[in-house]
């Protein structure tokens, strides 16, 4: 693309560096901003800058937060005895969106994968142990992707906290809700049969 203005070119490149935005969409956004008042662009940029400068990581669970401690961790209505361990903040948001969970979280920041250069010391595992050591926690739910690296991480953490005498569970794996058996892959279906659950009739 040829631009008559160096300023526009730079702005387009900035937008185009964002995920999911190509050069054409970037140009469309820039031209849209140019059609508006100058202060509207300032209003657009200010929250982004402010967010970037002031965002914090919760010292308890490593979720994103405005304050030292996040909204979830200071909420007294959320169950302190239940910690859900997730890989990243997007997974946390996905679980929050279900509206089914009233406990607290712990964001690891990834999974153990020496190939990617990520070892246990690069993840928020020590802080999790610290939280458990305080004694309020009764159960830790591992909500980690069922990949080989995810399994390694679950295994590793469970071994670390084994002596603490708390329940460690993982999210259920198997046939998706509303899915049909014939379309489930063999590995998933095989494991679903092995790890079948008792059927409850009174609920």
């Amino acid at each position: 693309m040829n631009f008559s203005s160096k300023l526009i070119e730079e702005a387009v490149q900035s937008f185009a560096s964002l995920p999911g935005i190509g050069k054409k969409s970037a140009l469309r956004i820039i031209l849209h901003l140019l059609n508006q008042d100058t202060n509207l662009t300032e209003q657009f940029c200010d929250p982004i800058l402010k967010m970037r400068r002031h965002i914090k990581t919760c010292k308890e669970c490593h979720n994103l937060s405005d304050a030292e401690t996040c909204e979830i961790c200071i909420n007294i209505h959320r169950d302190k005895s239940l910690i859900c361990v997730v890989e990243n903040i997007r997974d946390l948001m996905a679980i929050e969106d279900t509206g089914q969970y009233r406990g607290r979280y712990h964001v690891l920041g990834g999974v153990i994968s020496p190939i990617e250069g990520v070892g246990p010391q690069d993840l928020n595992i020590e802080t999790l142990e610290g939280r458990i050591a305080k004694g309020d926690v009764k159960e830790v739910i591992m909500a980690i992707s069922p990949t080989i690296e995810g399994e390694t991480t679950i295994f590793y953490i469970s071994k670390k906290i084994k002596e603490k005498n708390i329940r460690v569970s993982t999210i259920a794996r198997g046939v998706s809700f509303g899915g049909e058996l014939e379309y489930a892959d063999e590995v998933t279906l095989g494991r679903s049969i092995v790890a079948r659950v008792p059927y409850k009739t009174n609920q």
């Binding site: 153990i112 020496p114 070892g119 390694t152 590793y156 892959d185 590995v187």
Partner: protein, 365 residues
């Protein structure tokens, strides 16, 4: 099952080439370096999602970005269109009837194939890796769970080895992480070992029969599975911990398994002649074909690359009679001697197709 038609695009020395194959025997003749083996490799690729020879980047035609192979098979009386599109360095795409597979492992085993080529002597002459690959290649086509366990085992092993390599000298290793990897290896290792042992037990008698036929009963042969992994793999891993840390890799496991090839109770590699070696390998590969056939609803495609080379006239005749009386499925065969192949094919008294390969072009004769 058979391949009706195959189209290669930028595959090795082929620019664009279509071939309509016959359901029984297909003979490809031509001089060295013309592309006979490359066509066999393209068929192999369609069945196994990889080349039997090269990495993907060396499989595309020189100077080209990508390669593509399209095959029309008939499987259980149904037409199946398989297309693979490969841009080396990017994700490989395999489609069955225009729908892309999510995982390549879903495709392997649907169209079983066995390739026999002169390079197979590496099975006896080279290290244990080739022999493990032979076992894995056989079992993966029969058992998707085996394939999945093998993929899992290799991934965990790779992570474990990279971790061992990443520990800075003089610092203490994370024992708990190593233990985690040990525990993760147990389940796949056990399954793989059981299946390998069972598989070889079934393969052995078939192999003995074939060797007796091809050699005219001249020698006694045997083939044994060897695995150092025992009932308590976990303890074994722990016992070699210091060694693993020093060598910075995993020194015990089913990735060290081997096959022992014996000829008259001696090691084949040490005592076998060229011809004996060739007969031995041929028999074990034909046994592989037979074993897969016995466990599949469809007959595998047999790719015979230049197998008449090095065998004496007697052994060639034995081999042909064997191919005749056992109802093999579709066969693709390459040879540099057109007259020899024609003579053989005529003697079979069955329909066959003859192709001439020259400089990356194939013509039906």
């Amino acid at each position: 099952m058979h391949l009706k038609e195959i189209t290669l695009t930028h595959f090795k020395n082929y620019d664009i080439q279509k071939l309509e194959a016959g359901p029984f025997l297909n003979c490809l003749t031509g001089l060295n370096g013309m592309g006979k083996t490359n066509l066999l490799d393209a068929i192999y690729y369609l069945c196994m999602c990889k080349s039997n020879f090269n990495l993907d980047r060396d499989t595309r035609q020189f100077g080209k970005e990508f390669f593509r192979v399209e095959g029309h098979f008939v499987r259980k009386n149904k037409d199946e269109k398989i297309v693979c599109k490969v841009i080396p360095g990017k994700k490989k795409v395999f489609e069955a009837n225009d729908v892309a597979y999510k995982k390549l492992s879903e495709h392997i085993g649907l169209f079983p194939v066995v390739m026999i080529r002169p390079g197979d002597t590496s099975l006896a002459l080279e290290g244990s890796e080739d022999r493990r690959r032979f076992l894995d290649n056989t079992l993966c086509q029969l058992d998707v769970i085996y394939l999945n366990h093998l993929i899992t085992y290799n991934k965990i092993l790779k992570q474990r080895n990279i971790y061992l390599k990443s520990i800075p000298y003089g610092s203490r290793p994370n024992e708990q992480l190593l233990k985690t990897y040990d525990l993760q290896l147990l389940e796949p290792a056990k399954y793989i070992q059981v299946r390998r042992r069972e598989g070889l037990e079934e393969l052995r008698p078939i192999f003995n029969q074939y060797y007796a036929r091809i050699s005219g009963g001249a020698e006694q042969v045997d083939c044994q599975y060897q695995s150092k992994v025992d009932e308590n793999f976990e303890a074994q891993l722990e016992a070699v911990r210091m060694k693993d840390l020093q060598l910075r890799r995993t020194t015990v496991g089913i990735h060290k398994d081997d096959l022992i090839f014996k000829l008259n109770d001696y090691n084949l590699k040490k005592t076998g002649s060229q011809g004996q070696l060739k007969s031995y390998i041929l028999s074990i590969k034909l046994a592989q074909y037979e074993y897969i056939r016995q466990h599949k609803e469809v007959k595998p495609i047999l790719l015979l690359d230049d197998i008449f080379d090095k065998l004496d006239a007697n052994r060639v005749r034995q081999l042909l009679e064997l191919l005749l009386e056992n109802d093999f499925g579709q066969i693709f065969l390459t040879d540099t001697h057109e007259s020899r192949t024609t003579e053989i094919a005529d003697s079979l008294e069955r329909d066959y197709k003859k192709f001439h390969v020259e400089k990356g072009r194939i013509e039906e004769k």
